[in-house]
């Protein structure tokens, strides 16, 4: 049927072809055609593959440009043209080609979506919810922003997460993802404690609507980059909440695998070479509200800490007594972690 699409364009490059598209779908609607026939119409009239997703009805249907139904689902691309079948719901008709749509594409999207809406309304009483075996209810689906929202919401439902629930994505040190539902009343995140006890390094994404889990996942991965082993060589928190990052998230995006360390980070590394206690001490100083609290955290005498402090300032080359110097220290420590955990790297 590519011939038909070709001829549509050749015979009527613009408006008249759109009129024929209208006639085509009007005829299908009149004849109460089924969803596959409608999606096939969209494919052959636009000359590119088409698909329909409806999460709540568990419908996923793909047709290639020849009008043949594909046996296996394939991942969609975010740049493809699409139209909502049911406005405000999780039902989408796609043309598998990057936009912007030409006159025929636009008309196909509009008319096919309208026809599909009618068919769905007519048949919705016949569909029944399918169980988890229906598809891969993998967590990966929920956090994959390249998949249509409808697919992600359907996968969430299979994990017991309704479209209205809120959840966090958690990035673990082995690259795995965990999704945790967030109880509405709870201010505390119950997962953080579990993870600390489990001892695994983790970045915890913000609580979001199920459909926004890809963004929570992205933030969780950033937070994971700012975690540390918690050892003398790599002191710092093993669990980091993305909610607490503030501007550090922006800093993280500036440090890639090929980014050269700034002089403060190099100075930090040199200082670390000079004394085995250096990093842990500096981390405690940076993380504590006062010198006294830092000494307590390190279980050392206040005056011992004062001595180490002076040595550290000499090696680093800047003062740690004023707020600006302490900010430099905090940034240098954060940058060191970001360099140690570049994007895509699995720490630990």
């Amino acid at each position: 049927m590519k011939e038909l699409a070709g001829r549509l364009v050749a015979l009527d490059p613009d408006a008249a072809a759109a009129v024929r598209v209208i006639a085509y779908f009007d005829r299908l609607v009149e004849g109460r055609a089924g969803l596959e026939t409608i999606v096939r119409g969209a494919a052959v009239l636009s000359g590119c593959p088409a698909r329909l997703d409806d999460a709540s009805r568990h419908i996923h249907l793909e047709v290639d440009s020849e009008g043949t139904r594909r046996d296996r689902p394939t991942p969609p691309r975010p740049e493809w043209m699409r139209a909502p079948v049911v406005p405000g719901a999780d039902s989408t008709l796609w043309l598998e080609r990057a936009g912007p749509p030409n006159a025929v594409d636009a008309m196909v999207l509009e008319r096919a979506a309208a026809a599909a809406r009618g068919a769905l309304e007519r048949t919705s009483g016949r569909t029944r919810p399918s169980g988890p075996a229906d598809g891969p209810a993998a967590v990966e689906v929920l956090i994959d922003g390249s998949l249509p929202e409808s697919v992600r919401v359907r996968a969430a439902a299979q994990l017991g997460l309704g479209a209205a629930s809120r959840a966090r994505a958690i990035a673990l040190e082995d690259g795995k993802a965990v999704i945790r539902a967030v109880a509405e009343a709870a201010d505390e995140d119950p997962t953080a404690g579990d993870l600390r006890e489990g001892g695994r390094r983790a970045g915890i994404g913000p609580a979001v609507a199920v459909a926004d889990l890809p963004s929570s996942w992205a933030a969780a991965q950033t937070a994971l980059r700012l975690t540390a082993e918690g050892t003398a060589r790599d002191p710092g928190p093993r669990v980091v909440h993305a909610d607490d990052l503030g501007g550090l998230a922006v800093l993280a995006s500036a440090v890639g695998p090929d980014t050269r360390p700034v002089p403060d980070v190099l100075a930090l590394e040199r200082a670390a070479q000079a004394a085995g206690w250096m990093l842990q001490t500096l981390d405690a100083v940076a993380a504590s509200p006062s010198m006294r609290a830092a000494a307590a955290a390190l279980t050392m005498h206040h005056s011992t800490l004062q001595d180490r402090f002076a040595q550290a300032e000499r090696l680093l080359g800047w003062s740690l007594h004023d707020p600006q110097g302490r900010l430099r220290l905090q940034l240098a420590l954060a940058l060191r972690r970001l360099h140690r955990n570049p994007p895509g790297h699995r720490p630990g």
Partner: protein, 355 residues
């Protein structure tokens, strides 16, 4: 309506007509399949306005887009090697052009090839008055892909009204004779040649099978009759019922037959080699495949033809596709019904000629 009343002693020739009429009053036309009708309209045809006589003899014949097959389509983008051969025509008539398509990988030195391919000898459609031998070649190539390779031969027969009967059918027969005689040279297995045709080509195909039988000509493995145009009388129930509907209605059919037969059309002296429905004897024919839509002019003459082959003790496979208009699978190839129709042909061919 000019349909004779039911007659239990009707000759075989009349059986199809009489049986349908005796079944009761003729109702409205069967509805078109919805996906097919939508496809037809997208083409710019109307389901309610068939070709007019003027369309047929002027604009459609002057090389309109619908009837043009560009070279890259003809070769399946290089998958097929295609050549034109001029071969002897009927006695005293001009040479006949054959379009020969074979898989590109089998194209070199076909006569020396280590395997002989089956072949489909094809007659295009067009109401006896339009078309060319490039039309329909793509489906033959599709069969070739599906069946592991075959040679397609499409004959450029002369068209009516400039060349009335018997010019078209004799051209087709001459081309078949040459093909069978040159099977070796073409790398064709002579035992696996199927003759095939669409619409007017289906009628010519049925007629070629009759000619081959009656003249002691070549025995072919099967005859593939796709919505064949068989009966010049043009007065079956379906012809009457579908008047004004689809792309090829009773009026268009009248133009075609009158072009081929002139004033003989519908009279007592029409040769079965012009209109195979006129044949008294349908025995000893190669196995037939007949398909047709339930919503087209040719429905009843095609059903009758298959029934008469059975009655004569022959082998036929008949498919009547519900809601199909004439040529539906070519005009709306994506539709479910079109896919199933093509699959049925392929399955038959596989049985008849595949290894």
């Amino acid at each position: 309506m000019t349909i004779a009343p039911a007659d239990r002693d009707a000759t075989p020739d009349e059986a199809g007509r009489a049986a349908t009429v005796s079944a009761g009053a003729v109702g409205p036309p069967p509805p078109f399949d919805v996906e097919l009708a939508a496809g037809l309209e997208a083409f710019g045809f109307s389901v309610d306005a068939p070709f007019s006589a003027e369309d047929l003899l002027t604009q459609t014949r002057s090389g309109a887009a619908l009837f043009t097959v560009p070279d890259e389509v003809l070769t399946g983008n290089g998958a097929f090697a295609v050549e034109d051969r001029l071969v002897p025509g009927p006695p005293g008539a001009p040479e006949v052009s054959l379009l020969i398509s074979r898989p590109a990988k089998d194209a070199a030195a076909p006569a020396a090839a280590d395997r002989l391919l089956p072949a489909v000898y094809f007659m295009h459609g067009g109401g006896m008055i339009i078309g060319n031998n490039r039309l329909g070649i793509s489906e033959i190539q599709e069969w070739s892909r599906e069946l592991g390779g075959l040679v397609g031969i499409s004959v450029e027969y002369r068209l009516a009204p400039e060349n009335p009967h018997p010019a078209p059918v004799e051209d087709c027969y001459a081309g078949l004779l040459w093909t069978v005689e040159h099977a070796d040279e073409l790398g064709i297995d002579p035992n696996r040649i199927v003759i095939a045709g669409t619409s007017a080509g289906g009628g010519l195909c049925a007629a070629v099978a009759l000619l081959a039988r009656d003249r002691g000509g070549p025995t072919v493995a099967g005859q593939l009759l796709m919505c064949p145009m068989l009966d010049d009388r043009n007065d079956t129930v379906s012809a009457v019922q579908m008047a004004g509907r689809g792309v090829w209605d009773r009026a268009a059919n009248e133009v075609g037959w009158r072009s081929l037969l002139g004033d003989l059309r519908g009279g007592p002296d029409v040769s079965p080699y012009a209109a195979p429905a006129r044949a008294e004897d349908l025995s000893n024919l190669p196995p037939a495949f007949v398909d047709v839509g339930s919503a087209e002019t040719f429905r009843d003459e095609d059903v009758a033809y298959a029934s008469r082959i059975w009655r004569a003790g022959g082998q036929a496979e008949l498919h009547v596709w519900p809601g199909g208009f004439h040529g539906f699978d070519g005009l709306a190839p994506h539709a479910t019904l079109s896919r199933q129709a093509r699959a049925a042909r392929l399955a038959w061919l596989r049985r008849i000629i595949a290894d």
